[in-house]
Amino acid sequence: MEIDQYRKRYEAELAKAAAADRRRPAAARAPAAGKRPSAAARAKAIATTPLDRDNLEEAVTELLAILRDAKEPRTVRTAALAVLAAGDFLGPRFAPVRARYKDALREIATDDVPELRERALELLALDKDPYAQEVLAEGLRRPQKALVPEAKAIQLLGYDDHAENVPLIRRVFRRATGPAREEALRVLATDPQSERLFARLLKDKSEQRSIRRLSASGLQSLNPDAFERAARRIVADEDDDDAIRAAAVAALTHGREARQKPVDPKLVQTVQQAGDTTRSRALRSATRRFLQSTEQ
């Protein structure tokens, strides 16, 4: 579905919900005098009160005040942020309040509540916000200052492939373990200087399967010819991991189709042999699909 169609449908749903909300008693949103609803009830009331053109300024002012107020319960502030973030999806309709919203996000990016911090940084990072990028990078340089886990910071910095953080992420990759290492590879898939790194990791049978898969995808994106050469060797190597061999065959199938390359008899033979000699269902299935694609 086109984004505009999706947005229109979303707006229509919001308008319908807003009409229902206007019929609801005001107490559903504001605490009645002398009796303050529970945090859960307030969060629910906030979450079910959509923003629309009629109440935008007033409602956003109220939501921003809740979001910024460290004394408010975490669930209430989180609900306020969720409604604001959904409002931002409205695009031009949210425009009148967007500057104030973004300013608040920057403030919340260093909040004491980790979930709010992470969500605010994510929303800012999607917008390639320089402030968010700076604090995220600072957290990678000085982990004691990190506002979010290392893997999350790398992921968020990766939203901007024009940023200056790639050299930093190359360094982080060398020291990282687990999810941070994988996230770093995802980011480096846009970095032509990382081509050799991907080729080396893809070839390295001692590497984790997830790392080798990410390396295959990174190398294919950066240099399809280099990937094809490496993938051929992997497919032909009966000592290699069958899951990686299957992934290599699948990528060769897709790459050949996408680039509309002619059928290479040698490659067909290699793939045929891999399928004939393996016990791996995944590899057999991948080779079948490759061979079918060459017959079309």
């Binding site: 309709r93 425009a95 967007r98 990028q133 700076e134 901007d160 200056e164 050299p167 032509p192």
Partner: protein, 365 residues
């Protein structure tokens, strides 16, 4: 980038330093080398905003105009608006460009501040980019009157898209211009155009004949094989460009230009060359061009250099800077070469149209 910002701070305090600040705006300046787009944009914005107090030198006017015409970053566009306030002679088109920028940025407005170099304004600073644009429009005086109708249509037609504060600023700006006294036009502005010419004449011969290139199909050829023997329109782009009015539009227009050449008919080459040869491999070039209506042929290609772009960048003095991974900033650059690979003319910084480049090609034939 602290050193760049510190240098700007120093020049802001130095009388007569505006030309040096203007020189810092060149995309290929070492000040931007190795920086990401955000940081490069921020430094440019910081420099541009300085011209409000130092005065806007003539050599910086094309950059201001370019930013108002094409800029997408609210910070830098607002800075260009502030730069205009330091102009002794405001270009005729400034008011129309300000209205265009207001329309372009209305959904991405944000708080800006130019008092110090920081990735975000200090808490409590509440002036937004659109407010800066409105305030500059207000100061243009009578020269902005022809753009009042467009501003009015924008606010009336899409009034809900502006915050009450911005709406009030725009209304106040319109009121100021409406009542501006023509007799006092010279106090702020002049109706005299001060923009650099759209088409800058070139003179240097090109010595790139042996530079190795590869086209969207993976065909390898030298610069001379690609272009010698007939006139050439060569534009520069890269597929990762995030400004739709720059590279995407450039390649779309190259496709149209090639069709115009066929229709004339004019025996000419039409080509685009990527700034980002390590990333823009043939398959990527082919998809990018096809998606923008380019009908590839031996006379119409998208190309990359095999190896660094440096010789081409140097030969054409391209306005492009590079971060650690890709381009961090570029201007629009189109060169027209004659059949002997001499530089016949060039179009830079401003939006170009196919008809004008077609005429330049015909002259170079």
């Amino acid at each position: 980038m602290t050193t760049g910002a510190a240098r700007v701070d120093e020049l802001r305090r130095t009388p007569g330093a505006a030309p040096e600040l203007a020189a810092m705006l060149a995309e290929q300046s070492p000040w931007y080398a190795g920086r990401g787009t955000n940081e490069a944009e921020r430094l440019r914005g910081y420099i541009l905003a300085s011209f409000e107090t130092t005065g806007l030198p003539a050599e910086a006017v094309p950059v201001v105009i370019e930013e108002l015409e094409l800029g997408r970053d609210p910070y830098t566009v607002a800075a260009a608006a502030r730069a205009l306030r330091g102009a002794r002679e405001v270009p005729d088109e400034a008011a129309a460009l300000l209205v265009g920028a207001i329309a372009r940025l209305h959904a991405t407005d944000e708080v800006v501040s130019f008092d110090r170099f920081a990735p975000a304004p200090a808490r409590g600073e509440a002036v937004t980019a659109l407010t800066e644009l409105a305030r500059t429009f207000a100061r243009l005086g009578p020269s902005a009157k022809p753009s009042l109708a467009a501003l009015h249509a924008l606010v009336e037609g899409d009034g809900d898209a502006f915050s009450p504060t911005v709406r009030a600023e725009l209304a106040s700006a319109a009121e100021a211009v409406r009542h501006a006294d023509s007799a006092h036009a010279g106090e702020c502005c002049s109706e005299h155009a001060a923009t650099a010419p759209h088409v800058a004449a070139g003179s240097a011969a090109v010595e790139l004949a042996d530079v190795a290139l590869e086209d969207q199909d993976g065909t390898r050829l030298s610069f001379a094989e690609a272009f010698a023997g007939r006139p050439t329109a060569l534009a520069f782009f890269y597929t990762r460009c995030s400004n739709p009015d720059k590279c995407s539009l450039t390649v779309t227009r190259l496709g149209r230009l090639a069709r115009l050449c066929d229709a004339e008919p004019l025996d000419a080459n039409v080509a685009g060359m990527t700034y980002d040869p390590a990333f823009d491999r043939p398959a990527r070039l082919k998809t990018y061009g096809a998606d923008r209506g380019v009908a590839f042929s031996p006379r119409c290609r998208l190309l990359r250099t095999i190896g660094p772009l440096d010789p081409v960048r140097a030969a054409f003095d391209l306005g492009v800077g590079f971060g650690p991974v890709t381009v961090n900033r570029h201007r629009l650059d189109v060169v027209v070469l004659d059949a002997a690979l001499g530089l016949a003319t060039r179009f830079e910084r401003r939006l170009w149209d196919e008809g004008t480049v077609l005429e330049a090609l015909a002259r170079a034939a």
